[in-house]
C-alpha cells in the first residue's frame, strides 16, 4: 500500500506541470466563455446579470439555424467522403504493401498535411475556380464549352477542400486498427468456406470498426469548427459556425452571444459524437 502511495505521488507530481498548464490555458478560458454565455451584453461592457436570453436567441434566430445546419451538413458530408475514400488506402497500405515499404507510404500520406494549410486551401480555390485548373483544362480539351459551375466557390468546393485537408486524419487510425488484426482470423474465415468478400464483410470490417469510428470523430469534430476554408473559398459569403462565432465575439463585440454560440456548438458536437459512439458500441466491445 505504501508502495502504491509513493508511486501515485511520483506520478501525480510528474503530471502536475502539463495538467496545470492545460487547466490555466484551456479549462479556465472554456469555463469563462461558459460563464459569459449566461451574462448580458451591454455597450462596451458585460453586465453581470444572469440570463438565458443568449441561448434563446441562438435557438430561435433563423440565421444561426441556417449556419449551424450548413456546418453540420458540411461536416457530415466531409466526414463520410473522407472516411470512405481513406479506407481503401489504409487497407492497401496495411494488407498489400510489403512491411518494409509501409513507413514510406505513411510518410508520403502525411507530408501534404504538414504543408501550409492556408496555401493548400487557396490552391483548391485556384484548382476549382472559374479559370481554374479543372475548368481551363476541360475547356482546353474541348470536353466542356462552359466552365463547370457546381465546383465554384460554394459548399461543394468547401467539401472538397476539407476532405483533402483531413485525409491523413482518417487514414492513420484506420491503418493502425487494420495492422492489429490477426491475419490468421482471415485465413480461418477462408478455410471455413467464406468468400473473400464475405470474409472482409464479416471479419475484417467489424475488427477495423474502432479505427473507422476514431477516424469519423477525428475528422468530424475539427471540420465543424473550421474557420479558414469558408473564409478563403467562400469569400466570407458562406459562413460556417466558426466564422459566426468570430463575428459575434469581435466584429459585433457581443461576447455573451458569441460565447453562447460556441457553447451550443460544442454541446451539439458532443451529443452527436456520444450518440454516434453509443449506436456503434457493439464494435467497440469486440476489441476488448
Amino acid at each position: 500500500m505504501a508502495r502504491f502511495d509513493a508511486e501515485a505521488r511520483a506520478g501525480l507530481s510528474l503530471i502536475a506541470p502539463p495538467f496545470l498548464y492545460a487547466l490555466v490555458i484551456l479549462a479556465a478560458p472554456l469555463l469563462t466563455i461558459l460563464a459569459y454565455s449566461f451574462l448580458t451584453d451591454g455597450y462596451l461592457e458585460i453586465i453581470r446579470d444572469f440570463t438565458w436570453d443568449n441561448y434563446v436567441q441562438v435557438m430561435t434566430d433563423p440565421i444561426v439555424r441556417v449556419v449551424m445546419t450548413r456546418s453540420l451538413i458540411v461536416a457530415m458530408v466531409v466526414t463520410a467522403v473522407t472516411v470512405v475514400l481513406a479506407f481503401p488506402v489504409a487497407y492497401y497500405v496495411s494488407f498489400v504493401v510489403r512491411p518494409e515499404r509501409k513507413s514510406l507510404w505513411l510518410f508520403l500520406i502525411t507530408i501534404p498535411f504538414w504543408t501550409s494549410y492556408l496555401i493548400r486551401v487557396f490552391l483548391w480555390k485556384v484548382i476549382l475556380g472559374y479559370n481554374g485548373v479543372v475548368n481551363s483544362s476541360l475547356t482546353g480539351l474541348g470536353i466542356i464549352d462552359e466552365p463547370l459551375t457546381f465546383i465554384l466557390y460554394n459548399v461543394n468546393s468547401i467539401v472538397i477542400t476539407l476532405a483533402h485537408a483531413y485525409a491523413p486524419f482518417a487514414i492513420l487510425p484506420i491503418f493502425v486498427t487494420l495492422e492489429k488484426i490477426d491475419r490468421s482470423l482471415l485465413e480461418a474465415g477462408r478455410d471455413l468456406g467464406e468468400s473473400r468478400a464475405m470474409t472482409f464483410w464479416r471479419v475484417t470490417l467489424p475488427l477495423a470498426m474502432p479505427g473507422v469510428l476514431a477516424a469519423v470523430l477525428i475528422v468530424f469534430i475539427p471540420t465543424i469548427g473550421d474557420y479558414v476554408t469558408p473564409e478563403v473559398i467562400g469569400g466570407g459569403k458562406i459562413p460556417m459556425i466558426a466564422n459566426m462565432i468570430q463575428v459575434q465575439m469581435l466584429a459585433l463585440d457581443n461576447r455573451p452571444l458569441g460565447s453562447a454560440l460556441a457553447v451550443t456548438a460544442m454541446l451539439i458536437v458532443a451529443v452527436i459524437s456520444v450518440t454516434f459512439l453509443f449506436l456503434n458500441r457493439r464494435f467497440l466491445k469486440v476489441r476488448q
Partner: protein, 272 residues
C-alpha cells in the same frame, strides 16, 4: 491470380489518391516560377522574380522572425511539458491518470477556433497585451498532444529493468533518468520538437487572434490572399515553406525510426 488483381486495383486507387493529396502542392512551384501575375493556365514564361521580391519584403522578414521565435519557444515548451506527461502516464499508475491525460490531449480534437476565442476573451478581460507571448502560450497548448503522442512511443517501449539496474548500481533517480532514460528517448524528443515546430510554424487561427498587430507567416499569407498582385510572391513563399517542412519532417522521421530501432521496435508506424 485474384489476389494479384485485387492488389493491382487497390494500388491504382492508392496512387490516384496520392495524386489527389499532392495536387495543390504540385501546383505551387509551377505558379511560383510562372511570370504571369494571374494564377491560372495557360502559363506565361519562366521567372525567379517572385523569389527576389520575397527576399526584399520587410514585412515578410518580420513575419518570418516572429514565426521562428514563436515556433522555437512553443515547441520547446510543448516538448518539456509533454515529457512530464508521458513519463507520468507510461511509468506510474495513479488515481485520475486517464482523466488527466484525456484532458491534456483534448486540444487535438477541439476546434482551434474555440481554443483561440476562449483564450482571447480571457486575455482581453484581464487586460493582457496581445503579443508573441500569448501566441506561444496557445501554440504550446495545441502542440502538447502531438508531442505526447510521439513521446509515448519512445517512453512506453523503454525497458524498466535498465533503470532498475542503474538504481542498483547506486545512481539517484535523476541520475538514472539523465544517464539511461534520456539518451534512449532522445530521438523521440527531437522528433517531438520538430513536429511541434512544424505545427506552430503553420498554425493560423491562434496566431491570427492572439498576436495583436504582430504578423506571423500564416497571418501574413492570409492578409495577402485578398490582393491578386501579391499572390505570385505567396506561391514562391509557399514553395520554400513546403521544402522546409519536408526537410524537417524527414529529419524528424529519421530520428523517430532510429529511436525505434534503438529500443528494438519494428520499423513501421507513421508520424502520429
Amino acid at each position: 491470380m485474384s489476389n494479384h488483381s485485387k492488389g493491382r486495383g487497390l494500388q491504382a486507387y492508392a496512387v490516384l489518391y496520392l495524386l489527389f493529396l499532392y495536387a495543390p502542392i504540385l501546383l505551387l512551384p509551377i505558379f511560383a516560377f510562372n511570370s504571369g501575375t494571374i494564377i491560372a493556365f495557360p502559363l506565361q514564361g519562366f521567372t525567379t522574380e517572385w523569389f527576389a521580391q520575397m527576399w526584399g519584403n520587410a514585412t515578410l522578414r518580420r513575419a518570418l522572425t516572429n514565426s521562428l521565435t514563436i515556433a522555437v519557444s512553443a515547441s520547446v515548451l510543448a516538448t518539456c511539458l509533454g515529457v512530464f506527461a508521458t513519463r507520468a502516464s507510461t511509468r506510474f499508475s495513479f488515481p485520475g491518470r486517464g482523466g488527466m491525460m484525456g484532458f491534456i490531449m483534448l486540444p487535438m480534437v477541439l476546434p482551434e477556433i474555440i481554443v483561440a476565442m476562449s483564450l482571447l476573451v480571457v486575455l482581453l478581460g484581464m487586460g493582457v497585451q496581445l503579443s508573441l507571448l500569448t501566441v506561444i502560450l496557445g501554440h504550446a497548448l495545441i502542440c502538447m498532444p502531438y508531442a505526447i503522442a510521439i513521446l509515448s512511443t519512445a517512453f512506453s517501449s523503454l525497458d524498466r529493468s535498465l533503470e532498475e539496474a542503474a538504481f542498483d548500481l547506486g545512481e539517484t533517480k535523476w541520475g538514472a533518468f539523465r544517464l539511461i532514460t534520456l539518451p534512449l528517448v532522445m530521438p523521440g524528443i527531437i522528433s517531438s520538437l520538430l513536429i511541434s515546430f512544424t505545427i506552430s510554424l503553420d498554425e493560423f487561427i491562434i496566431a491570427f487572434f492572439l498576436a495583436g498587430n504582430e504578423p506571423t507567416l500564416p497571418t501574413y499569407i492570409f492578409s495577402q490572399l485578398r490582393f491578386p498582385r501579391s499572390i505570385p510572391v505567396i506561391m514562391a513563399l509557399g514553395t520554400v515553406l513546403v521544402i522546409l517542412s519536408v526537410v524537417l519532417l524527414a529529419i524528424g522521421e529519421y530520428f523517430r525510426r532510429r529511436g525505434n530501432a534503438r529500443i528494438g521496435g519494428a520499423p513501421t508506424g507513421g508520424l502520429l
